[in-house]
Symmetry: C2
Subunit: 481 residues, 2 copies
């Protein structure tokens, strides 16, 4: 075991030594992603893109079950549209890419590559919406967006990323608020049920909310290194945009009214999250439900009669059950080499099948999450594998939750808090006064930010843990990606 | 009937009067699409986007069955990369959009919004490919592309459109050629089995081929107005790009070799095709397998006891069979209004269910394609509906084929050919000398172009029907969208 560990040390930096380098090594060596010739833009390779496809499938199903339909809006947005809502343009203008020439001609008006689509979508909603009978508008878009970033890291912060953006209109504030929370809950479900990542859910501070939103809600995860990752946001936009874009409808009382508006999105950043929550020094550890390959079957002594036939039979049984299965019978590589390869790629379950196993009507099942290896009966094989994948999912979720809980502490003393943020980081829970000045000071002192005011408020005292003023909210504070 | 027809005349221009206006009326009134604030860019609305989702589902399944995986490459391409393959840059540079500023800064090098991704993908393939063992590379990308167009029409020619682009590498020319033809055949299958559109398949002339290709193959459909629509292309790119981008691999003989390369794509243009092949003066006629709503159920006298219950029971039976079904029990509208609405939207089958129908253990089934209405038994109802949808698909395909055949003629006399292209248009079949000069003259005289040299060559004589020189190929000529 020590030797094997050593071999990996050669390839992947140990996370304890340099977490950022570990991350880079893992994503490049497992071929999730690569750098492109355009600075800050990534290429998502098949192994990474399949994860995104699985996330898309989960969410798209849930969006449709809750009555949403997909549309597609233009990639390019006229500067004048972006300028219509002041907070929004202030938030996004500094980081957009500008198209100035189309074909051989200079454009009369610059067009920005969409950083998000509120403005262009609102301009169309304004044209379409007539009556309260047509509400709610429940629409979503899958696309890429561009935000010019100076310092980038694949999946986590790139100048282009893939995402979905929902944009809905409602007759009342309450309906818009219900939608905002419903979509946040779908994100939490997805994170927990698909990615095995526990989430803290809550509301963003005024400082941290979306440019132009009435309120922003977030799901926040804790990474292995103690830093937080904002993993999805849902915005109650109130009537800011609907007023700026003159979206009106004939209300039940016969008067023109402005609808209430939400938007919500998650992105390929989630892939970065699952790597940093579950990965280890051997590489990726894929949660089974999102894994591109859920089970790899490796025949042992495959030249012996019956081995390959049995291996293919097992594969067929799993495929029949709807699992994503790979069988590697490439004779150019030894079983040991293959074990290492699929461990690095994080395949949740490895099935080894050789002559003696067949004799015993069993196979060997090696779990990626615990690295445990034990016999698995071929009697009811597919059921056994499905059960084991569920166990792996649950164990990964519990392990991530235990790690998060262990890294979560209450701010008793501001100096200890500063010290901890500078070393092990983690989630700091504390009471907060609600003042921007206090929030700015936390960031200046520690580089940490208020991640959210969680829905599950705990009563941790009467005064702000950060400045001593009267407390208003309990908050989670962390350094964040 | 005459009165009903009249009502529609008010809303949708008759195709015999002005086909272009008919098309515009249909796509806007059925809410497939809308114009956006950016000239030449369209908004694809839910009813249009669902068609695209169904096309994607069909193709993505076929791509994966044939061993392809999806990836994602950057939206923006450096000018220097675009310039690496000369024919390619000459073909695309005049119609690309240029990003010159990122955030507040002017870029050192201009970036174009991808018009197609050969160049950026080749730059990565060059980095990745090492050995013949890794070949073939079978990858695809779903994305949007931008090509600056002066004169646009939704779905048919827009400055941005959605598409997929496959990009593969192979060890030998033969394998690349096989792939090129395999993917063309998948496109033809999709057109015929999903969209009920018959296709002529063949090779493009040198003039009409893709910029940088060794050979381009195409599927060509004939629209209702006698014009052709290029509906999908598959390119054998030979080694043009692999040499320009220095993509090499260690061959079986131990020497560095350049792989052979293909690319292939279809786009949202297909939606324009299905509208113009199947539509009529009442609006859309949706082929059942791609229709967002395959069956609409309209209760008659729904206040009578048992009607709504039965209507929902029928809906549940169809949903259970995997059909896409809508039930409209909105009491704000009469059944007659609903009939018109769903006819305009092209829903393939309308089921009417009222008290007397229930008594007779039947419903009324109205086909959109033939406008025929007949009883359908509730005994084995879902099976009956599935059979009827299949019949509709087949009938629509045969009708489109008969129309195409009727609009196809052999070029006997150049003057008659010119006259016909100026009036009823259609597909002209003729022998061709293979000369660019002759091809240019055809276009100058008639605005028609050589659509392809079909795989099914017919022997129509020894001399070029267009100039009298010795003939080399039989071709299809048509005016095209
Ligand atoms: Zn404070
Ligand atoms: Zn000729």
């Amino acid at each position: 075991m020590a030797k094997k560990e050593m071999e990996f040390v050669k390839e992947i930096t140990r996370m304890e030594d340099d977490f950022a380098q570990w991350y880079t090594d893992v994503i490049l060596k497992t071929e999730l992603v690569d750098y492109s010739p355009v600075k800050g833009f990534m290429v998502i390779r098949p192994y990474g893109y399949q994860i995104w496809e699985n996330i898309q499938a989960f969410l798209d199903r849930r969006f449709k079950e809750t009555g949403h339909k997909n549309m597609y809006f233009p990639l390019l947005i006229p500067e004048s549209l972006l300028n219509k809502e002041k907070e929004h343009v202030d938030g996004f203008a500094p980081e957009v890419a500008w198209v100035t020439h189309g074909g051989q001609e200079e454009l009369a008006e610059r067009l920005c590559v969409r950083p998000t689509s509120e403005t262009i979508i609102c301009s169309m909603y304004s044209k379409w919406l007539q009556s309260y009978r047509e509400l709610p508008y429940l629409y979503n878009q899958w696309c890429s967006v561009v935000r010019w970033e100076k310092s980038t890291r694949p999946f986590l912060r790139t100048s282009e990323f893939l995402w979905q953006e929902g944009h809905t209109l409602h007759e009342t504030y309450e309906e818009a608020q219900d939608e905002t929370i419903q979509m946040l809950n779908i994100y939490r479900e997805m994170a927990e049920e698909l990615l095995a990542i526990p989430m803290v859910t809550g509301r963003k501070s005024e400082k941290e909310k979306f440019a132009g939103a009435y309120a922003t809600y977030t799901i926040e995860a804790l990474m292995h290194d103690g830093k937080a990752l904002q993993s999805g946001t849902s915005h109650n936009l109130g009537q800011h945009f609907t007023k700026a874009f003159d979206i009106t409808f004939l209300g039940r009382g016969g008067e023109l009214e402005f609808p209430f508006h939400t938007s919500w999105g998650v992105s390929t950043r989630l892939i970065g999250g699952l790597i940093m929550v579950h990965g280890d020094n051997r590489g990726l550890v894929m949660p089974p439900r999102v894994a591109p390959t859920q089970v790899v079957i490796i025949p042992i002594a495959q030249n012996k009669p019956g081995v390959l036939d049995k291996a293919y039979e097992l594969k067929a049984a799993l495929v029949e059950r709807g699992l994503r299965v790979e069988l590697n019978d490439d004779t150019n590589y030894t079983p040991g080499w293959k074990f290492n390869e699929y461990e690095m790629k994080g395949v949740p379950l490895r099935i080894e099948i050789g002559p003696r196993d067949i004799q015993n009507n069993q196979a060997m099942a090696a779990r990626r999450d615990t690295l445990e290896k034990a016999p698995i009966s071929l009697e009811g094989f597919a059921d056994n594998v499905v059960d084991m994948l569920d166990s792996i999912h649950n164990a990964m979720f519990e392990k991530a939750k235990a790690h998060r809980d262990q890294m979560t502490f209450v701010v008793d003393d501001y100096e200890v808090f500063k010290e901890r943020m500078a070393t092990t980081a983690g989630f700091a829970k504390g009471m907060w006064c609600g003042e921007r000045e206090c929030e700015d000071k936390i960031k200046a002192d520690t580089a940490a930010t208020i991640r959210c005011m969680p829905f599950e408020q705990e009563d941790l005292g009467q005064v702000c843990h950060f400045c001593g003023k009267p407390a208003k909210h309990m908050v989670y504070v962390a350094k964040a990606y």
